[in-house]
Subunit: 389 residues, 2 copies
Amino acid sequence: MRPVSILGVGSTPFGRHAGTPIETLAARAAAEALADAGVERSEIGALYLGNFISGPLNGQEVLAGMVADRLGLPNIPCTKVEGACASGGIAFRHAALAIATGQCDAALVVGAETMTHASGAEVTAALNCAMDNGSDGASGLTFPGLFGMAWRVHAARYGTTRRQVSAVIRKNKANGLKNPLAQMGAALTDEVIEQSPPICDPLQLYDCCPVSDGAAALVLVARDRARGSPGSAPVDVLASVQTRGAARIAGHADMCSFEATVAAARQAFAQAGIGPKDIDLVELHDCFSIAEVIDSEDLGLVPRGEGAGWAAEGRTAVDGEVAVNPSGGLLAKGHPVGATGVGQIHEAVLQLRGRHPNQVRDAEIAMTHNLGGTGVACTVNILRRGDAA
Amino acid sequence: MRPVSILGVGSTPFGRHAGTPIETLAARAAAEALADAGVERSEIGALYLGNFISGPLNGQEVLAGMVADRLGLPNIPCTKVEGACASGGIAFRHAALAIATGQCDAALVVGAETMTHASGAEVTAALNCAMDNGSDGASGLTFPGLFGMAWRVHAARYGTTRRQVSAVIRKNKANGLKNPLAQMGAALTDEVIEQSPPICDPLQLYDCCPVSDGAAALVLVARDRARGSPGSAPVDVLASVQTRGAARIAGHADMCSFEATVAAARQAFAQAGIGPKDIDLVELHDCFSIAEVIDSEDLGLVPRGEGAGWAAEGRTAVDGEVAVNPSGGLLAKGHPVGATGVGQIHEAVLQLRGRHPNQVRDAEIAMTHNLGGTGVACTVNILRRGDAA
């Protein structure tokens, strides 16, 4: 396997782009990434596009080929991959593999989703495509329901409080205020959070990420190519892992731990040859406030049961022991599902270049994490500042 | 790159399975392929699933993880890929790459689609997800419309007649009669074909493949592993190619040739180190009768302009110069979209094992071909009988 680097990044703002077709958003982000990398279109040897629900919400598939067509790429393999909320991370891993295994020297990763044009009922139905609908879906489960149950178990077992979980929201919303790509940054008080409308007890409005449109893109190259490039500072891919977990809630051994995340983190640390203490920042999958708590524990970054406590104590702040979601995360930056995993890597690259608007000081190693469905698909990546080797 | 072999195949019949969930069909085909290969579930290192429109038609995504869950596979990477009608072929290529590049020693490929439970209008809308809906779709185009136009151009340029094209239908429907997996084999006369209802002039009813449910699966292994296996006779993968073409009709240089097919065939012959005359049989993408004519020419198997004439002269029959669609093809076997490319390879494997119910005599080398959308995605594979090396 050849070493792989990220040479270019691009992104639309996450938020409302109603009226702009998904392929236009995707092509816009991709063109920005190509320009940032200083890589010619003719050099791109593969395109992977992460998308989840453009079929149900837009009646539009074949997005990988359509985006290549709009960009004027060569007649290369163009593949859409899907694994619910992990779709973007899966696209990244496949592009990294294409280079690592010598299939091509440069590859384009795109993640895209449009959702805000649809009604709330349409979005909920489309998101439920990520569930095993023969069992969990048929039982009336929704994703707020799943994470509401996980919260209850976490609270009962570890004594996690509403106020501690609110600290995750306050942190991410405040981080989002500093991020021009973020949809819903805000300065929130505990009172505002705790007086917000109930969604699915104990989840309230601010515990849930918004519905978003957006696209993000990355240009990956063989590391040798990156070192000779006149473009932006390269970021090295130390690990890119994809795992699966149980597809149904009844298959989970523990309601507040996802085995796909635990396995992916373990494999990623082994691939990278580092440990959790080496991670300066993580962009992880906080689709709900309690998801950040569980993910940070599953990734091994925070002791089991202490995820919310660490947030409340400021230990996951941008200047804390490990910066969790300095971008604002899904809660504040937004969650255009197929774009999210690619957008997280975009944020991590800016951090490792030292040019993030909410910069983690001396950031050298970053992690990103996606979790799809009820834990059925997971991706974890570890990235390092290119000059830190 | 390590050599790759196909060790096991499985398939549901193609046809009507209304009431059976898509993941059940997929798991059924996969379990059959695993048993056929004599490969343990614990040995499978990656799963690729081809599917096109389960989101719009079933409200069910994350099928790759769900199928792995039902089969009891390890916590391996499970990926759905999509490229419209080429989805199954794309899944196969990625599994072959996973083995060729040493990511794993055994991989599972699954293709699945369910369509017959939906209304005609729902199916047409879902199939149009394969079109660029900002341009071609907005113009009112449907896929019968595209291939109707292609037929008109072919007829004007090469003098292709209704009666010649009917020979493609008669051949494939007759082939389908011999295939127990086929949905709609039939003994048809020219009169029955020519008196069938118009669909989109000049296409009539029998020019169009049916709407189908079905799933197919393959177990791929490193060739060294295949040679020592007690299971079925292995089939070697000589080439697996994926290309893209124009996403919009206006982007095609020629209305009766698809550049994605031409490029994929050229690359596949180069990879395999053989030429068109070495192909004993091909399973190609006859979504419409005229598509077989064009595909057989684009693949270089039949001289340009003579595709329909060759069919009329019996030169593409099972005992002809090159057997085209001895399974019955999409026209007779059916077209559960995501399953089609995997099912074609299943048919080719049975031929190369010498155990097909419509056997091509002394079949040693087979080709399969998928074309997605209006030519935006294409896959071509070349397979060889394992003992013929």
